[in-house]
Amino acid sequence: MFTLSGFGTLGATYSTLRTADYAGAAFEPYGAGASRNIDFADDSRVGVQLTANFTSKLSAVVQVVSHNNYDNSFTPTLEWANVNYAFTPDLNVRVGRIELPTFLTSDYRQVGYANPWVRVPPEFYDTVPITNSDGVDGSYRVHIGPVSNTLHLIYGSSTFHAIPGPIRTEARGIFGIFDTTEYRALTTHLGYLRAHADVPFAKAMPVAVYSAAASLDMARWFVQAEAARVTVDGLTPGYLAGYATAGVRMGKFTPYVTYAVEHSLDHPMVSDNMNAGQRALSGGVRWDFAKNFDAKVQYDHVWTPQGSTGLFMNEQPGFRLGSGTDVVTATLDFVF
């Protein structure tokens, strides 16, 4: 009746730029570069999940994740806790804390083993740093010949800490509609999400996210690309973001390349957000060296347009807007 599973990543991150931090995720207080020479917290995390199947229709899932929080603690946070009722195997309704499937890999972005890279491309994924929502959702899957299509609706609210960490952000009235189509090795994902964001200095700022993604996961190679338009009125300049990634499977080794872009829409703001975009070109290799383990090494060349801090944090005197860095990361992923 109960199934315990877990995942984790141990990472070491090095960035050549010494005047600011390169952080692996949006919530982290420090990164590699200015604060730490080699940052072991940047890309490391561990998660434990308990799944309970009470009956064939009623189940529940609780997931707790520990990573470097905004307050520099590793205090585990309750990522998901929901109860699922399956009216039919294809019609599910959940209540509780639910993952927010904003983008193609949003719901497993923390599971390194399930992803080809050392981290999800931050230029794209950090545009919507919320991972969960407290509320309800429903999903309905239909089979049309060899194609299966899942329509997913979600409603809820979420409280989180975004860059810079101490700022408490509340997203209210989150409403999302997502459509996922699977046909053999092809997966496509379309999404729309809206909400209102409250921060200490501004209330009810409209949030809108439009996204599209496709992934082709063949036996010998894979390609995956996503694009999104994300606006948080008044708090960010609005972004058009996207990435494309491709890899080749050669036995236990999977080399890959990724190009990611975050482009500013230059909308007016009430906050002093200086991130006017960032780009990165990355290359790496995944090594599936043992059952339920992999090791990865990734190199990122990161640069920002003129006048932009990009996703850098803890800028020191001497940091120049519109600069960049080179990052080398090694990770060990596991699942159990």
């Binding site: 699922n84 195997p89 599971v111 996961d217 036996a219």
Partner: protein, 148 residues
């Protein structure tokens, strides 16, 4: 010395040929209970059931997939042919579903006899589906797809 190397060599070649004859010739078949109304399934339909995307047979019956243990050679062959996925790729696929609470991988059993037993009897009121060597077929189950 030279003679013994030749003997060893021909022995190795013979062993390799024998291994190939037994492995390369092994043909997998997808099976359902002999009582099932289903007579044939496509690779796509089988793939959807084993990847957790479908839970019904074409006749509407609920179906539970039965898998072999991770180390079984037939399992790697099955997933390569039906889903186009390597064992590592398959584990990455399931970790996506497990950690979203969206599903659990198929139940694993020890060998072909256990597969046949479950498929013939069904599990918890639902039909079951499995895969075995063609040579292991008997009257309790029937083949609905041959894998080449």
């Amino acid at each position: 010395m030279r003679h013994s190397i030749r003997v060893l060599w021909s022995g190795l070649v013979g062993a390799a040929l024998w291994l190939c004859a037994s492995v390369c010739d092994a043909q997998l078949v997808v099976i359902v209970s002999a009582n099932s109304r289903v007579t044939t399934l496509s690779e796509n339909e089988v793939a959807d059931i084993y990847l957790g995307r479908a839970s019904q047979l074409p006749d509407g019956a609920h179906v539970t997939p039965i898998d072999l243990a991770d180390e079984a050679a037939n399992r790697a062959t099955f997933y390569r042919i039906v889903c186009g996925k390597s064992p590592a790729q398959l584990r990455a696929y399931w970790s996506k579903l497990i950690f979203t609470g969206a599903g659990q991988p198929p139940r694993e059993v020890g060998g072909a006899e256990a597969v046949k037993r479950l498929v013939a009897a069904g599990t918890g009121g639902a039909s079951a589906i499995g895969y075995i060597d063609k040579s292991q077929l008997d009257a309790t189950v029937k083949a609905v797809l041959s894998l080449h």
